[in-house]
């Protein structure tokens, strides 16, 4: 065990694996623990990792270099609309724009949820996301992203659409 125990513990706590940055950091940390720095020097780019760490400490709106948190929205084709509000610490006047929601883990060729059916609204400090016309889409999971006015990732939006 070495001097980076705390860092590793810290990263594990932040669940880097789930944040999909793990690929970049795990090999580096393994190297550090093994006392070999060959991969670490390449992979553990101090600036990028520092960005990730700093961004994770900052309010979500500043996570330009980190994967933003996921807002899971359950919905039903029958009801046709789903919505959720999450406090992201947003400032008044902040703007948000959503992309189409891409199918994930669904039969290949499933059509995406159109961006025009995804409406993000900032009600500081929260982000409200409503998804409309659910009856038009296949049952399953979809994911898109909401950007702020500077095209930084505010939140991933995951629609879990049931019958």
């Amino acid at each position: 065990m070495g001097a980076f125990d705390n860092l590793r513990e810290f990263m594990d706590r932040l669940n880097f694996l789930a944040l999909k940055n793990f690929y970049r950091t795990k090999a580096a940390l393994d190297d550090i623990e093994a006392g070999t720095f060959s991969t670490a020097q390449t992979w553990l780019n101090p600036l990028l990792v520092a960005d990730d760490i700093i961004a994770l400490w900052l309010p979500t709106a500043s996570t330009a270099f980190a994967t933003p948190q996921t807002i899971v929205i359950p919905g039903s084709k029958l009801i046709g609309t789903a919505a959720k509000s999450v406090n992201l610490g947003l400032a008044a006047g902040a703007t948000a724009k959503a992309t189409a929601l891409q199918p994930i883990g669904m039969p290949v060729g499933t059509a995406a949820v159109k961006a025009t059916d995804v409406q993000p609204v900032v009600a500081a400090p929260s982000l409200n996301v409503s998804i409309n016309n659910l009856g038009n889409y296949a049952v399953g999971n979809y994911r898109g992203i909401v950007f702020d006015g500077s095209w930084r990732g505010l939140a991933l939006v995951e629609l879990q659409l049931g019958p």
Binding site: Y23, F65, T67, A100, Q102, G109, F147, G153
Partner: protein, 366 residues
Amino acid sequence: MAPTWIRMVLALSLFIGTIGCRPLAPPPPVAACAARVGEDDFRTALFTVYQTALAPSPGKPQPIPGLNEAAHTIRCGAPRFGEFWRRLALARLAARSTSDRYIVSASRELSGHELVDMLANIEKRLGGMCGVEKRFAAAYEIVVPVGSTTQIGMPSCASTPPVTTSDAQGWLATAESSVWLQTSLSQVARNVDPQAWSTGCGHLVFHDTHIAKHASGGGFTVDPTTCTANAGTPHTLGTKWHDDLFEHFVPATYVPSFFKNILSIDVLQAPPGPAYKMTYSINTGLQFQGWGVPTPPCGTSGVYIDQGGITAIDAGNGWEYVVATKQLAFSEHLPNPPLLAQEAAVGLHALLDMMPFLVCCPAGFP
């Protein structure tokens, strides 16, 4: 006898004088092209040159790893992929600098023996000229002269220098380009029709584009082995149509890499009217490869935003004004989307610069 110190000064003066009178050394020989240049290598080389050309000036010359090799690859790949790319790269590098010795070296490698006079003209004309876009326009007029439309690998119509801008903000990469082309609106419409992206000079980055076949229950029918949408009924090139298109796009920023997406296409205006207008946006991302990430199963999108459009207006005098735009944002499945957006902006700059080549694709390409 003169004192020793005077003799030394005289000898030194004579030595320096000899150096001053010595004729300039000839430029270093241009390396011969050894092997057939591969597509991946050519795309990567273009990206290296564009990244250098678009980067802010470092103040004093600094060596740029891989630049000379990239210039060599482009020069040697030009017969296969198009002389236009070589000249475009030369104009972009010259716009960046005609005095930085590292860039000058790469420019000489690009020009080879064939374009050495052209390079000399560029250096002469751009001397003292400020502003990258102004310098690029001046260099473009030299490397793509009006008379070059009959040369092998050059656009078959006259063109003004493309005015291209690119930018990255957050996760989003954007680019826009406008150019005047001396051709017909119907030719523009046929060659920028998304179905034709992969069959002409766009093949370097679009390996396949075809109408996607819709599934009876909604969505699309896709071959899961190749993660390619089955082909639907094609539309007549250059006409108005609204449909979904499968694209297999190969970017220049990482090797090996690809994106397979289904785009929603709307051709809103087409000849015989006086304008052509087409917009597109991602419908469903199917798969991607690259950036060290294991290739995900078919059905995983690599992009959240992939949209843009092309508008062409017939000026009525044999010239068409063409404007192309594109926006791109990668998904969180790829590492560091903001960093990728910066690289993508460079790639998009090159992609939109090629508009004269795409529209006026010479015979024999790809």
